[in-house]
Amino acid sequence: MAALIDMKLVSKWYGDLHVLKECTASVTKGEVVVICGPSGSGKSTLIKCLNGLEQIQKGTIIVDGIDLGSPKTDLPALRSRIGMVFQHFELFPHLDVLANLTLAQTKVLRRAKAEAEERAMTLLKRVGLEAKARSYPAQLSGGQQQRVAIARALAMDPVAVLFDEPTSALDPEMISEVLDVMVALAREGTTMVAVTHEMGFARQVADRVIFMDGGEIVEDAPSGGFFEQPQSERARAFLSKILAHTAG
């Protein structure tokens, strides 16, 4: 099957700092891929390269048949088809929840207002927040904001959704409400790439786990295999640290 996201030998530098080293990986339609690794391993940078929020210096990234590095690529148009969920939610604080969900639909996809609102309400219902349509982001808890952010990404009917540490900024009691939404999405066949430390989520729904360290993709394995028999010493060390406190 042709890959929906395909990156080959991707390298990136911040000045002299080599943050991504010849990363090669691909994601097919319907796949759920979790990227994990110690902090500073380049995983957030890598996921931001997938929709061109970060530029790469070497290698190629092809998303849905479109080469991100080509000067002819209409990057905003491509981005509108890739959803992204951020660590700090990044809802627009000057707009209410409904407007957060409809603005890009009407201005980028040129949907009619009524259609955009209907789509928004359907998605709010799905994340259990239809009652909050007229609230402002500042009036919501972190978990609620992140669920709205997920709905906002889905409102664009993306071909894939990227999650950049979606639960890292949440208080512990709010993590599961966000993970529940993500699990449901995964089970419905949404193509997902998620940078996360939630190994429970990875075990439960990920098809593959990509383990990064020092800017390199060290392992890229089916999730079962990764957790049962990590191939590299670095992955074993990482897993023993991260799983030490999460029984099961």
Binding site: L78, H88, H94
Partner: protein, 234 residues
């Protein structure tokens, strides 16, 4: 105690308010609005990716902000006729009138200050907001107009209103080009009737009431802003 005659205020109220205050408000409103719009444009130019554009905008803003307003009013009053002559290709300097000259001067002067206010507002928007709007497919112009500018203006509203209060007070400087604002009108009546003390006391009271009320409003607004921002940050 000297015999004060505050009746002069009542007798001249029509002139004071319908002519003097009307002009003060006219100048504050239009120079404020136009200066604000021009300030946004300058702020955009100052963050342009073309170095010459950036440099020109920065030079303009820094120059204006380094000069006393009275000096700028004088300069423009004498320069504007020549600039207009050059622009329209007239054989001799064009008399544009003190009102237009004052409006142009105040607009251009305020624009420099608004530019810096808007710019600091824009710089205060977290990088994540830019990333999030890019990720949704907004183009740079949409991103600026729909996401960044509204937030920058909202966050800077107290500072913008404070600048308008300063403008309201500064309009009294138009006396140097023989225009009559509220303070000028009060001064004229005071001199004509020999009641300068009464008139200046009265105008001080009027300025105080208006500006103090406005500053209370600004404080309320900024408290509300701080609360909502604090909650976003948590």
């Amino acid at each position: 105690m000297v015999d004060f005659d505050f009746g002069v205020i009542i007798r001249s109220a029509g002139y004071l308010f319908y002519e003097g205050m009307a002009f003060t408000l006219f100048l504050t409103f239009f120079a404020g609005t136009l200066g604000f719009a021009l300030g946004i444009l300058l702020a955009v130019l100052r963050s342009s990716s073309y170095r010459p554009v950036r440099w020109l905008a920065a030079t303009y803003v820094n120059t204006i902000r380094s000069l006393p307003l009275v000096l700028v009013i004088f300069w423009f009053f004498f320069l504007v006729p020549f600039v207009t002559q050059w622009v329209v290709g007239s054989p001799r300097p064009v008399a544009v009138g003190a009102v237009w000259s004052a409006l142009i001067t105040f607009t251009l002067f305020e624009a420099a200050y608004f530019c810096e206010i808007i710019r600091s507002g824009i710089n205060g928007i977290p990088r994540g907001q830019i990333e999030a709007s890019s990720a949704l497919g907004f183009r740079p112009v949409q991103r600026f107009l729909l996401i960044i500018l509204p937030q920058a203006v909202r966050n800077m509203t107290p500072v913008i209103l404070t600048q308008l209060i300063i403008l309201f007070q500064d309009t009294s400087l138009v006396y140097v080009v023989s225009l009559t604002d509220f303070l000028g009108a009060a001064g004229k009546i005071g001199q004509r009737d020999g009641r300068l003390v009464e008139m200046y006391l009265f105008s001080a009271a009027v300025y105080f009431v208006i500006c103090y009320a406005a500053s209370i409003l600004v404080r309320r607004l900024s408290e509300r802003n701080t609360i909502s921002l604090a909650r976003v940050g948590s």
